[in-house]
Subunit: 258 residues, 2 copies
DNA sequence: TTCTTTATAGTCGTAGTGACTATTAAGGGG
DNA sequence: CCCCTTAATAGTCACTACGACTATAAAGAA
C-alpha cells in the first residue's frame, strides 16, 4: 500500500498532490422521463457548458459526506440525509481537468419525482439559484437523452450512472427510491420502463412485485381516486426488503436465450 | 463539480491536498482455499502488520495503471496486462491513515491458482522479495479466513472485495479468471464453492454452465487422465461470453423464497 | 349511454432449476 | 486380479417463475 512507500514517509510532498472531488449524477423521473440534475459552469474551463454537480472533498469529510453536502448546497434541498446515495466509481485518468490533477469520486443519487415535503425546496427545481462565491451557475433538471455534451468526462460518468441504476433495478428494490412515499404499482412499473427504456407487461410486473416479500407494503385502507383516468389503483409504500431474489431481469433485446 | 468552486481557481493550494493510493485485493485459489495476497509492513504505522499491496498513484497515471504497476512490482509477475482487474470502490474517510489524508482507490484482481507460465515469477509466491527502498516487506499468499486484522481499514476492503467477487460470480462468467487456461468443470465449480462457501450439485452446475453459450468452450480433443482419481474430466477453455443470463444464483442460506 | 383508460384477476405453456438416481471410467488396496 | 472408491457424465421428475395471453372491474370522457 501507499503507506509502505518509503519515499512518502521522508518527504510528505515528494508526490504531486491530488485534488479530490465528489460529483453526483442525481437522477429523477419528471413527466415520465428520466432527468438528471445539471449545473451550468460559470467559469473556465468549459464555461457555459453543463456539468454534473459536485465539489471539493474537504479535509474533514469523506467523499460521501462531501457529495451529500454538495447536493444539499446546489439543489437547495434541506433534508438530504434520507436520500439514496451510492458510490458509482472513481475517475482518475490524468488530464481530466486541463488545469490540474483531479480525482473524482462519483456518486449516484435517486430522487422521487414529486419531491416530498420533507425535502424542502422548489418542487421542480425549475430555477435553482447559484449558490457559490464567484461562480455564476444555474442548476436545472435536464432530460437524460438531451444532456448534451457535458464538461470534462461527465458524459461518461452520467452514462455509467444510468447503466448502474438500470442494472441495480434488476436485483434490488431500488426502484422505490424514485417514487414518492406512497405510490401505485403503475408508477413503480413506470420507473422500470423509463430507466430501461422498454415496456413491461403490467400483470406480470404486478405479480412479480407482489410475490416478492417486503418489496412493497399496501397502505392500510387507501385507493387513489381523483387523479387517474382509469380504475383507481391501490397505494403502496416501500417495503423493508432491499434485494430481489430471484432478480427481475430486463427483457432481452438481443437474442439472449433466457 | 469541484472545478466550479471559485476558491480553488484563485489559490491552487487553498485546499489541503490528498494523497491518492491504489490498493489491491488480489484473490486466488490455492489448495482449494481462497487466498489473498498480503504484504508485511516494514515501517510505522502498523509496522509488522499485514496489509493489502498497493501504492501511490503517480502524477502521470490513472489509479488503474498504478494498481497494475504495483501488482507487477510487488508480486514479481511480469505479464500483468491480461489480468482481470476491477475497480472495487474508493475509501476516503478521514483518519484512515494516522499520518495524513489518504484516499484509496481499491481494486480487485483474480489470479489463476497455478499461475500459468505467461505470468513468470514464483509459482506459489512462497517467498517474495521486498522490492522497495527503505521498506523491508515480504509478500505472501494468506488464506482468506486467516487474513487476521490488517493494517488501516484493509479488513473492510478485503471483505468488500470478497463480497463483490461472490456477487459477480452470479451474473458474470468471471469464475474462469480463477482458472488456468485449460480447466475442468469440476475446477470451475470449485471456484464457486470456495468463493461462496457452499457446496453445489455437480450435475446441475454442469448443466447450467454448458447451457450458457460462450461460458466455456471444449478443448478440441482432450481429456485429463493422469491427475485425478476418478473418471477423467473433459478440458475446457474460457469462452467469449462475459454475462450470465439468467444468473447462477447462490443457494439461499436464509429463508429466501426462490 | 358508450368508449376509453387503467387496474386487477386469472390461465396456459414452457424454460430453468433443485433434488435426485444411474452409469462410466479412472486409480488404489487387498 | 477383483473390488472398492472416486469423480465425471447422463438422465429423470417435479415444481417454480415467467412470458404471453384473455377477462373483468372501475373510473373519466365523449
Amino acid at each position: 500500500m501507499a503507506e509502505m512507500d518509503g519515499t512518502y514517509a521522508y518527504d510528505k510532498y515528494a508526490h504531486e498532490p491530488f485534488a479530490v472531488t465528489a460529483d453526483l449524477a442525481v437522477l429523477t423521473i419528471l413527466d415520465g422521463v428520466l432527468h438528471v440534475l445539471l449545473v451550468e459552469r460559470g467559469q473556465e474551463p468549459f464555461k457555459g457548458h453543463w456539468a454534473l454537480p459536485g465539489g471539493f472533498v474537504q479535509p474533514d469529510e469523506s467523499a460521501e459526506t462531501a457529495a451529500r453536502r454538495e447536493l444539499a448546497e446546489e439543489t437547495g434541498l434541506s433534508d438530504v440525509s434520507g436520500l439514496h446515495l451510492e458510490q458509482l466509481r472513481t475517475y482518475s485518468e490524468p488530464g481530466r481537468d486541463p488545469r490540474m490533477r483531479v480525482v473524482t469520486v462519483a456518486f449516484t443519487a435517486l430522487l422521487p419525482h414529486p419531491p416530498p415535503d420533507s425535502l424542502r425546496g422548489d418542487p421542480h427545481l425549475a430555477s435553482l439559484e447559484p449558490h457559490g462565491g464567484s461562480d455564476a451557475a444555474q442548476a436545472r433538471w435536464v432530460p437524460y437523452d438531451k444532456a448534451g455534451p457535458l464538461a470534462f468526462d461527465h458524459d461518461r460518468i452520467l452514462a455509467d450512472a444510468q447503466e448502474r441504476v438500470g442494472a441495480k433495478l434488476e436485483y434490488t428494490c431500488l426502484a422505490t427510491a424514485f417514487c414518492p412515499p406512497e405510490f401505485t404499482l403503475g408508477e413503480l412499473q413506470h420507473v422500470y420502463e423509463v430507466v430501461w427504456g422498454t415496456a413491461l407487461d403490467r400483470p406480470n410486473f404486478r405479480r412479480k412485485v407482489l410475490a416478492t416479500p417486503g418489496f412493497v407494503a399496501p397502505v392500510p385502507g387507501a385507493a387513489r381516486l381523483t387523479g387517474g383516468r382509469g380504475k383507481p389503483a391501490a397505494l403502496y409504500r416501500a417495503g423493508t426488503a432491499t434485494a430481489l431474489h430471484p432478480p427481475l431481469l430486463r427483457p432481452t433485446p438481443e437474442g439472449h436465450p433466457a
